[in-house]
Symmetry: C2
Subunit: 245 residues, 2 copies
């Protein structure tokens, strides 16, 4: 296994950072490497907003349920799906954009995710730690207002970057045998393999919390997918111009 | 700039591969490194199907508008957003899953994209070339039928992997200054910078096609976003259980 595989396999989310602020140059280099990821038809529907304003960072930390590392990380970036630039580009060439297609929403969202993950690998290769903040979608309208996002742009997730001030264990993943299938979808051996993974995760939670967290993967999933999750997303996206036609 | 940044910046899509088939072990190692990417609340909503059956590969190549490297690449993977496993996991813990939320669709799709991009970096670190195949969404129902995907699973994109048999140039990206903003969204300098990028892309297309392709970025974008793109996606997703509530 080469160094890059080893780097990828050592990923864990970092939620405690030293007070070292990342320089403009470091952030630009990380984002630049991020943008070299594949992008659908070279659409490049990604915009990254580095939030420096401490009041805005504090407000976003609050909206995400009190994730204070949003305030303390060496940099906090909001990764946005941007079809506004696309519209402007089309207009520059004398064209117009048909907006609101589900496919467009997908393309833009996937573009952002690919670029962000490349940026994460770039950052981790420099010894930095990262934490994705999906919870910017708890109140995406307020986040959009704070960042003055125009129509056709929405915040996909936040990303904390910085010098790690903790060294957590790598969280075990589902065995590759569960995830990688041959020719057709199947769910034969999976129940047994998932039961084994449950035991792995039970031991992981127990060890990480000094015995306080008694749970396993399937129990965590059951509580996650029970009930409506962020039911405002559909209307929020429609209001931004992503009508999902 | 370290080796990993250099690796990321040397990415280009490969559309011509030698006839070397990737071993099971190589593909498993690549996917395993892929799965170490961040995943929302450890949901791990990714399933990867390696398509070996030559008839199925030929059929998918046809559906994607004749991308024959789908048939000839060292491996062809279809990356699926999988909420079926999630449902089964919840049921194993005695729970139930509320499906059809827009947010769930986003989480699963982003999970897949992050894992796939990690796998891409892993593959490229081994000297392999890759090409994403978004065009599996040209006819996602037929692809789903061919791969026997159950409800709550959909094919996000395909991925060709293999030993490169070409050495194309890296495609220039938008300058980082256009993409990376400070505190708030803006579009002030961007029009000028995009006009400069247009000239870069015009030269790139000209050089790559021996002068045959006379175009630039904004013109390409204008033709891409004019009209409805994959208008079947909304209904297809709803039929799969992703109703976007």
């Amino acid at each position: 296994m080469n160094d890059v595989h080893q780097l990828l396999r050592s990923h864990r989310s970092i939620r405690k950072f030293t007070d070292e602020t990342l320089t403009d140059e470091t952030v630009a280099e990380i984002v630049k490497s991020g943008l070299c990821a594949a992008t659908s038809s070279n659409l490049q529907a990604t915009t990254v907003i580095r939030v420096r304003n401490p009041e805005v960072r504090a407000r976003i930390a609050e909206l995400t349920g009190g994730q204070r590392y949003i305030e303390t990380a060496g940099a906090f970036l909001v990764w946005c799906a941007d079809m506004h630039r696309t519209r402007r580009a089309a207009e520059m060439a004398g064209g117009t954009m048909t907006s609101g297609m589900t496919e467009q929403f997908m393309i833009a969202t996937i573009d952002v995710a690919l670029a962000a993950q490349n940026a994460v690998v770039a950052a981790e290769s420099m010894g930095l730690g990262i934490c994705y903040i999906g919870a910017v979608r708890n109140d995406p309208q307020t986040v959009s207002d704070l960042l003055e996002l125009p129509r056709d742009v929405y915040p996909v997730f936040g990303l904390c970057l910085g010098v790690p001030d903790q060294d957590p264990e790598v969280k075990p993943r589902l065995p590759v045998e569960v995830v990688l299938k041959e020719d057709v979808y199947s769910f034969e051996q999976e129940a047994r393999q998932i039961a084994d993974y449950d035991e792995t995760m039970r031991a992981y939670y127990r060890a990480r919390t000094g015995g306080n967290k008694q749970s396993c993967w399937t129990e965590e999933i059951a509580s996650l997918v029970d009930g409506e999750r962020r039911p405002h997303m559909r209307q929020f996206l429609a209001d931004r111009g992503f009508e999902m036609r």
